[in-house]
């Protein structure tokens, strides 16, 4: 058979593509469950961590996650930690390169941020990607929420230790990512104030959510 002929070429490309794609789908099928599970655990871990739980390892995460009252469709979570009711909300908003997804947790009166966790982002590794680092995220812990939300901006030091000034130190060299974080968190605070969301949160709260 003529190896350079049109028919052979078409048949060959068809068979090769079919074989490789088949192998890929099999591999995908074999790993998809594990991949989904990993993703779910990362998400649950981030929700717990933002709300102030201490949970490490997939088993402890899944176990403690059961004590959180959740409305996954609305991305809302309610838990009681040390007698204090904490609201958590999943957020997604535009960063510099792609969507930043994460969790924001606040006290029930929306007056104080309990914590912020990042679930996924496509920010520049080493620059905007540093929003994943604890020095950045820990600044949100206990931060007071001002009437117009919080501010993420460049300060002189490395991190802003004062929780009362509604101010978070941005990432050096990643102004756009820092601005995005400010916009996302403030938009989410706004969303939590709305009437429908408050209703869902109240009903979740009455369902329990005892840790």
């Amino acid at each position: 058979m003529n190896r350079e002929g049109t028919i052979y070429t078409i048949v060959f490309v068809f068979i090769v593509s079919f074989a490789f794609v088949l192998l890929l789908s099999l591999t995908n099928q074999a790993t998809i469950e594990q991949v989904e599970l990993n993703r779910e655990i990362v998400r649950q871990g981030a929700i717990l961590s933002a709300m102030g739980f201490d949970a490490e390892g997939s088993e402890e995460i899944q176990q403690k996650y059961d004590s959180v009252a959740a409305d996954p469709d609305a991305g809302l979570y309610v838990a009681t930690i040390n007698g204090q009711v904490v609201y958590g909300t999943l957020f997604a908003g535009p960063g510099l390169w792609g969507t930043i997804e994460g969790v924001l947790a606040v006290t029930a009166d929306l007056g104080e941020i309990v914590g912020v966790e990042i679930v996924s982002d496509n920010e520049t590794p080493g620059l905007g990607g540093r929003i994943n680092e604890s020095w950045f995220k820990d600044q949100f812990r206990g931060e007071r929420v001002a009437d117009d939300g919080i501010t993420v901006t460049q300060t002189a030091g490395d991190g802003d230790p004062d929780p009362t000034n509604s101010l978070v130190d941005g990432v050096t060299g990643a102004t756009r990512t820092s601005d995005s974080m400010e916009a996302i968190v403030n938009r989410e605070l706004q969303r939590l104030r709305s009437v429908e969301i408050q209703q869902i949160l109240r009903s979740l709260e009455s369902q329990g959510g005892n840790a």
Partner: protein, 204 residues
């Protein structure tokens, strides 16, 4: 490049690791050398991925070379490379989710690494499967070596750490430039200079 290719395993090893190193002699695979060298752990996993993909792509291309029509040669090579890259991506996602998250889009971009295509086209297309696999693996190792050296400098000076462990004293002020792509240009230039100088000495 020498005109006659020596296909003894030892000669291939020396050639790919040093005298014909893909990075500082052939200047191939530079995009990822600039992008993923600011953290050692990421660099190590990424270059391991490239090494495996290069090895197995060369093996597969060599096995299929008698069947591939010349006019669709490149397309089929790309298909084979993409196949292995997606496998690496899936394995990382399933078993090393943390690293997969850190590497982000760069794993998918292994497909565009010219070293892999270069070895498939220049070596595997005209040599046996086993020696092609060895050629691919050693080319990957040559690439890995240079990238790890760059990552050591960039992580140490940019973050003060190695593999995430603090090395530099607390008073050390990290060089932000080392985290950003421009520093990779400077470092790569220095490495190419150093490599070529040392090689010039050998030949004389």
């Amino acid at each position: 490049m020498s005109d006659v290719v020596d296909i003894r395993p030892g000669a291939i090893l020396k050639n790919n690791l040093w005298s014909n190193n893909p990075i500082f002699m052939q200047i191939l695979g530079i995009c990822s050398a600039l992008a993923v060298t600011n953290l050692l752990t990421n660099t190590a996993i990424m270059t391991l991925g490239v090494t495996l993909v290069t090895g197995f792509s060369s093996l597969t291309v060599s096995l299929l070379k008698k069947l591939i029509p010349r006019k669709v040669r490149m397309i089929v090579q790309t298909l084979i490379i993409a196949f292995y890259v997606i496998i690496v991506d899936l394995v990382l996602k399933a078993f090393l989710p943390e690293i997969s998250k850190n590497l982000g889009p760069y794993v998918g971009l292994i497909i565009t690494n010219c070293i892999i295509m270069g070895r498939a086209e220049a070596f595997a297309q005209s040599n046996g499967p086993i020696v092609s696999f060895w050629d691919g693996i050693t080319s990957g190792l040559g690439y890995m070596g240079v990238l790890l050296v760059m990552a050591v400098f960039r992580e140490l000076l940019g973050f003060g750490t190695l593999f995430g462990y603090q090395i530099m004293p607390a008073a050390f002020v990290p060089w932000t430039i080392m985290v950003m792509p421009p520093s990779a240009f400077f470092l790569l230039g220095l490495i190419i200079w150093a490599g070529k100088t040392m090689m010039g000495g050998e030949k004389a």
